[in-house]
Amino acid sequence: MATHGIGASVLRKEDDRFLRGRGQYVGDFRLTGTRDVAFVRSPVAHARLEHVHVPDEFKNVVFTAKHLTGIKPIISAPSVKGFKYSVEPILATDKLRYVGEMVAMCVAPTRAEAEDIAGAVTLEFEELPPVTDMLSACEPGSPLVHEEWGDNIFVEFSENGPIEEVAKTAAIKVTKTIRTARHCMFPMEGRGVIAYRDPRLRYLTLITSTQFPHSVQTGLCECLGLDHGLVRIISPDVGGGFGYKGLLCPEEVALGWLALQVDHPVRWLEDCREHLTANANCREHHYQITGYADADGKLLAIDCVAHVDAGAYSAYPISSGLEAAQIANLLPGPYVFSAYRCRSFAVATNKCPTLPYRGVARSGVCLAIEAIMDAIAREAGMEPTEVRLRNMVRPEQMPFENVVGKHFDSGDHPECMRRAIEAIRLSEIRARQQRPEPDGRLIGVGLSFFVEQGAHGTSVLASWGRPIVPGYEQANVKLTADGDVEIHVGTHSHGQGHETTYAQVAYEILGVNFDKIKVVQGDTLYTPYSTSTWGSRSMVYGGGAVANASRLLAKRAAHIGAWLLQTDVANVRVADGKVIAGNSSVTLREVARAWYLQPQNLPPNIDTGGLDVTAGYRAERDSGTFTYAAHAAVVAVDPATGTIEILDYVVVEDGGTLVNPMIVDGQICGGTAQGIGTCLYEIMPFDAQGQPLASTMIDYMLPGATEVPDIRVLHMQTPSPYTEFGIKGLGEGGAVGPPAAIVSAVNDALRPLNVEVQDLPVTPERILAAIDASPKRATVDHA
């Protein structure tokens, strides 16, 4: 491993500007004459919109649906059989379908004044009974979010394995009902858009905080009826995404339209209230799951009905079906069994649309399957980790296709689990549990195990019929006239450090001075078309593309270098920023000088494509990489107050070849913190009328430094056999494991009281309610 190549914990190139407050987020751009936009949003969950009253003095600065002529609604309709698509107007037309839906756009010199105007606009509407719960939404007679559908189901997925025989004979049958909480993704920077016309280059330009610049471009073109050549999307520094910025926002369309009407730039910066109450939520699932096992804890079958509350509309381009599809095919997780039946439904409700959040569906399915493993362990009288080990794929079985045909590429799952058991000191915890704690708290330990499919390729996603299917990823790599390297990629880092890790890939091949490698991203004008950064794909796909382009560049440079060295190209290699032939070499700077400035020195058969190359990449097998991990938690539950403290947390992960272990650890720890939020703190509750009830930061709780322990991360590295350098996708896994591990630990702690909690988030109130209902009603210990 070279100092800055693959595998080195190189410090990040991005850090300097961020640490000096010089990041450039959407809100930091200053364009002369910019006006601010505030939206009038629906105060009700379901209604017929009858009239929008705009005071006369604001008629020229307030825009409603009737102004938005020539604009198409957002339609994200995968071609999956039976999918019912939603028509999402940019500004509400005849119906309001969730609290926060946009109705009017108000423009003023400052945001405060725009909000004043928004406050002066009044709405007339006739309220309709709202659909607020995904289960009752499926009942006959439920009110309908989209009347034309006839029901509230976007789409249903099913796996119909033969479970009847197994069910009849299995020694152990366990059933769990689990609800996960709808919550918010809450990147620290909200969404934000600046839109303006660029007459010189003839672009409608949007500076927007997105993970998907090109998808926004395509979606915007579709809605506004423009060609791609007339729309430029700039996504500057993005202050976190996690899926929240992986879509075409109606605000982007609205501001794009507005910029074409007015002669000044317009800006909308999402505020916290909009984030919490109006924009996307995530992760609301319901599982009714049954597991069958033999008396020794060998899993025989899984039978599940799952629902996803997808909210009112299907987001572009991901669609509202993704989460339910993922549930059906990811629920089996890492376990080996042969009979699987699952029906999963994406259900429309009068709540804001949901988007896939880091580890789409997986934190929920991991919680569900691991609850079943724990329950089997209890029935079989076994240590829960033993049940898991018994049902894992053995290393000699790799690569392995599971019950739904997921192709696990490599690794040693049981070893990962064993390392986690050792690291969390399971036997010591079991011994500690034999005596009461001095402070009266109850100690519990729990582990979860999962596989993280990342870097999904065309073969996985084409069948879902999405409007934009990922294909090859491309990178443009060039030598500048100084011999420096400039890399242009279509993926877009929103915290993952791609400016550093892509540079490491190029360094690995070209060996130029690391400080002289620059990565450019986040602008459709300068980067190859890409489905961009989501689904733990960028290092595999973008990294592969950078590698291929760097190799091609090296080849071109070698050709010139060989000429300059007066030797045959077969005799040279590129390394350390040089073209080397035996003991002599020329630097890539000299090569670049020759190409750009002194063409008379070039070989006669020069490739006039020069030192600026674009190359693409697709994994040799594009069914995804399979990172896997064990998460282990030790918790202390205070039975008097219901509060939970995480005393220790260990992650053992095999993410294949690690490009930058420091960054990998950061991804795992950050994901784990989010998973802790999912498990213990975060919920966006709604009342029966569909009013979101956590509109402030006092209502909505995010984990802070005191709620996240000093997470210990251990690695295994089994390279993927199918990808460049053996890299596997791993950006999401951290968020997948915590709910299952922590709930398992909490229930382990509560075991003396013979009660369990199952729904998320596990709040003190839920702990106390469980204790309160305990047959062995605990005496309240004041400690």
Partner: protein
Amino acid sequence: MKPVAFDIVRARSLAEATRLLAESGGTARLVAGAQSLGPMLNLRLAQPRLLIDITGIPDLTRIEDTDDSVTIGACVSTANIEDGRLPGRGLDTLPAVAAHIAYRAVRNRGTIGGSLCHADPAADWVSTLCALGAECLITGVNGKRRLLADQFISGAYQTALAADEILEAIRVPRLSAGGRCGYYKVCRKAGEFAMAIGVVLNDLDRGVFRVVIGATKGRPIVITDARDLQRADESIDDDAILRVFDKHGIVDRIARRQKLAALARAYNQAMKP
């Protein structure tokens, strides 16, 4: 999320502030740091026409030190109390409580008087000052008066201040050498509002043995003689506490558990020798 338009005036004296307040006809709010009011303004939940900033009035940041008490100006910041800038003995509770109110950046501008006047039932100062038997020194257009903290707080977000009155200072009695104060709050995360607060002041040398149950839906519950809650062996009597909950309409089973735990833990702290 920007506030509606308001004006700000920086009062130079108490007299000026009370006059401005009286003249405003109820459309003005005092600000003594704006750490509770600020969020409500930004959310447009509070829409006063005028903010009267009283932090520039020198009288309001004075600390007066006597043998048996300390009088803290209403605009003394919570961070300064945390940092132990109150002179003399018998006040250890104040910095200890201060250190766990919200966050340091908020404590640097949040003031003890501002918090008390905001009268949030879950606020630490509300319960603590009621338990310590603090006195509120009030100035109005028509003169001065004093109220005990538990009379000053009249409900959720409600105080006994008249429309033209200002809380000038808070007089906190010193604990005697053997006095102890226990404080326990149940929070889901650091710096958050409490789900339950228990405070027990055990200072029998001064004849005080007071209990406060905080983070209720309204005023804190103050029990002036904690011996009513003791068993013969001086341990705390859960049943007696549960009867207090019954009396005050605390019926939610989970709230009862948390409040019982908070109170019992505060009690145990206060009874430690």
